[in-house]
Point group: C2
């Protein structure tokens, strides 16, 4: 697997001289990290992106680590034969038009698998968008360079996505939103050979991967999956498609996946300590919390520090619905809060900080955050923040109280949305997860309420 993810040389079969085509983007993207060891293959050109273009893969000056195939489906088997003859051991088929299109496509895909077997060659795909390596900056995908350049943020989350088009759109969204830093994003498409287990096993030994986000419609091999997850020693958050009978039927015609019995699968995932998401943004939101809060202690007793009675109440409702508890603050915390609270107000949880801010200034937030952070009765912290342009820096200043703390800490933010992203990026650099939905912050904190791994 390593040479798929950190190659030193690649061939691009189906390279194009037209800058609007995916076959051109592939060459331009790979050239960024591998330079001259990228070999465009296309009989109609002498040069693509300033690199010499070869008419056949058999004529390349070296046996590349892997070949990316981006030619029309009927031409793929012949290309695989040539790769086999050349001695190339890894092929990534990014073209679509195989098993996902029906019986004919499935037959073509089987033909490819047979050729690969003959040459002991591994196939990644088909119908996939490839790999993005956030650490090395490698984008082995047909996304145009202007879409991803300047947006790749390295980090600890690795994605494994069983889909083609969605993963391209989704990875672009992660990059443009800057949700979290990427370790590796792997779109495995129809997974005719390389599957989620291969990658889970690889990530077990990848020190750069801290959290894994999985989108799957079925499990390739339940026994191997179980062993791979047990060996991982990293949290996994799974979004599974095909939970309903109707969804499973659609999955069958999408990637030929047997989505199987929903309830059975639920038990299997629970046993393995896998966290679950039910929608794509939720899936990212949870991965973000898991990577920010690595190694923190957990528990179910929550402190809410809020500027608003209403949001404190709605947060309480959500925590209770998830089986968590509102912490009973210790006497020491109550004493510390009294130093900033107005005399008529008895401190309690949810910690309504506004009267204290009116009396003691925004410093009161720092005092309250420090107090609940030190309180042995508190396992996790949910802070509500109002932000606008004039408050941004003050907010970021008092949040420093929570910087690198050992309890999971999340923020819910309301106010002028023009400042949300700056606030989010600043807070998340301190290890505090930021959400703009109360429910999402509560769900993230619940990951640590009943620690699973």
């Amino acid at each position: 697997m390593r040479k798929f993810i950190e190659p030193e040389s690649v061939a691009i079969i189906g390279a194009s001289a037209n800058p609007l085509k995916g076959g051109n983007a592939l060459v331009a993207n790979m050239k960024e990290v591998l330079g001259k060891r990228v070999y465009p293959v296309n009989p109609s050109h002498k040069e693509i992106c300033g690199l010499p273009c070869h008419s056949e893969v058999t004529g390349l000056p070296e046996v590349v680590d892997f070949a990316i195939v981006f030619v029309p489906p009927p031409a793929v088997p012949e290309v695989l034969e040539q790769c086999g003859v050349k001695g190339i051991k890894r092929v990534m088929i990014q073209s679509a038009g195989f098993a996902e299109t029906g019986a004919e496509g499935l037959a073509l895909q089987d033909q490819c698998t047979n050729i690969a077997r003959k040459y002991a060659m591994r196939i990644w795909g088909p119908n996939c968008m490839g790999v993005v390596n956030g650490r090395t900056g490698m984008v082995a995908s047909f996304m145009r360079p202007e879409i991803w350049k300047g947006r790749l943020k390295p980090g600890g989350v690795s994605l494994i996505v069983q889909s083609g088009l969605l993963s391209a759109g989704f990875i672009l969204q992660i990059l443009s939103e800057g949700y979290f830093g990427l370790s590796k994003a792997c779109s495995i498409g129809n997974r005719c050979d390389v599957n989620e287990c291969d990658l889970l096993e690889y990530f077990s030994d990848d020190p750069e991967t801290e959290v894994i986000a999985l989108y799957l419609e079925s499990i390739s091999d339940a026994g191997r999956f179980r062993r791979a997850i047990s060996r991982l020693q990293r949290p996994v958050v799974l979004l599974k498609g095909g939970l309903s009978k109707e969804g499973a039927r659609a999955a069958l015609s999408h990637t030929g996946s047997l989505a199987g019995d929903g309830r059975l699968a639920e038990g299997f995932f629970r046993q393995l300590g896998i966290h679950r998401a039910w929608d794509f943004i939720e899936w990212m939101d949870l991965a973000k919390a898991l990577v920010l809060w690595q190694g923190r202690s957990g528990g179910h007793r929550m402190a809410i520090v809020t500027f608003s009675g209403a949001s404190g109440i709605v947060s309480t409702d959500h925590f209770i619905r998830r089986g968590m508890a509102i912490a009973t603050l210790s006497p020491a915390t109550i004493e510390k809060l009294r130093t900033v609270y107005p005399p008529w107000m008895e401190p309690r949880n949810p910690v309504d900080i506004w009267p204290a801010v009116e009396r003691s200034g925004r410093e009161a937030y720092a005092v309250a955050l420090e107090a609940v952070l030190q309180d042995p009765e508190v396992d996790g912290i949910f802070v509500h923040i109002y932000v606008d342009g004039s408050l941004l820096n003050e907010v970021l200043a008092f949040l420093r109280t929570l910087e690198g703390c050992k309890k999971p800490a999340a923020i819910w933010v309301v106010g002028d949305s023009a400042y949300f992203r700056t606030l989010r990026d600043g807070a998340e650099r301190m290890g505090i997860a930021v959400y703009n939905e109360i429910e999402r912050g509560v769900r993230a904190l619940s990951l640590f309420a009943h620690p699973k791994k």
Copy 2:
């Protein structure tokens, strides 16, 4: 009520000459719509915001439609007496520091209510952010003008919010995000007199209010509430705080509300056909759908038109979980889809449009949307869109197929987030609700699955 919402003259007691203070923002904001008929009251100044400043409310040249009170709580009763003597019949107390702060504050609030009763005066508040009238542009609130100017978008949604600070932050967020057009946003705070029933009754006769979004911790008067809702003839979406025992306890100390028995309340709201939200953004997302889809037919049979098998499957799972169905497309629709589909692919629902786009161009989207729109077997339409800078205009072009259609239609969007807002604003002008979470689009469509009003 009308004179609170469309006044012709107001006094601002506690006006300030300091542009950083709320008492200054109030004068500046009101002057925008009422000009010289705004009367700042403050004994220390001769002029505020270019308007003559009066030392006492009794000395004003006219009996204003209402007085906004923004002085420290202990000074409020005296101010109310003066308003009564002057013959002013409506007072809006925006100052905080009353019942929400404990026994002493509650006594002060009761004192105010008694004074009001003596003079047959209505009190709005205290502890509220006032009223924003999206149609007239009136911001009767202490938000600074630079925060809301240029952002007020008139529309059909009226908000009634039982909270103080949260509503200020929240209304700013609605304005800065441009979620939907505002008819009126009313923050009723501690509602010592004016309550949600007064406003619901007022909105019954307000042709500009098409949908009502309510945040409440308790119902002031269940009988009157029931009658007001029945008379409304407009959809209502409610976010209720204090559903859990712990949340209800917090509500008691927030606005003195008896949040009551959760399950009893559920039955009451269901009987009245009130839609429910569980979080603030969801609340707005649902209000948006209700205002965009007014008067459309409904039903539970959904068509999904998607570029991605994976998102089609996850959407199917969510529809099924909500008790809805994936429509069986009629033969006529299948025929229309065949004209753009590649020959090897059998059209079905979810309508996976990508192979058709590859064969027939993005026109295929328009053909598919037109087909499901005409299909008598389809009650609602959920479209999945990938967007980046190069596609934005093409996407908006094929969405025109759904412009002003008679079935509820929602979009889920993924891709380059830099273009989400432009896409959203464009699509919503055509009456199509845009979401970036599948679950949220499904929930919105479910509002019309079992029509309630």
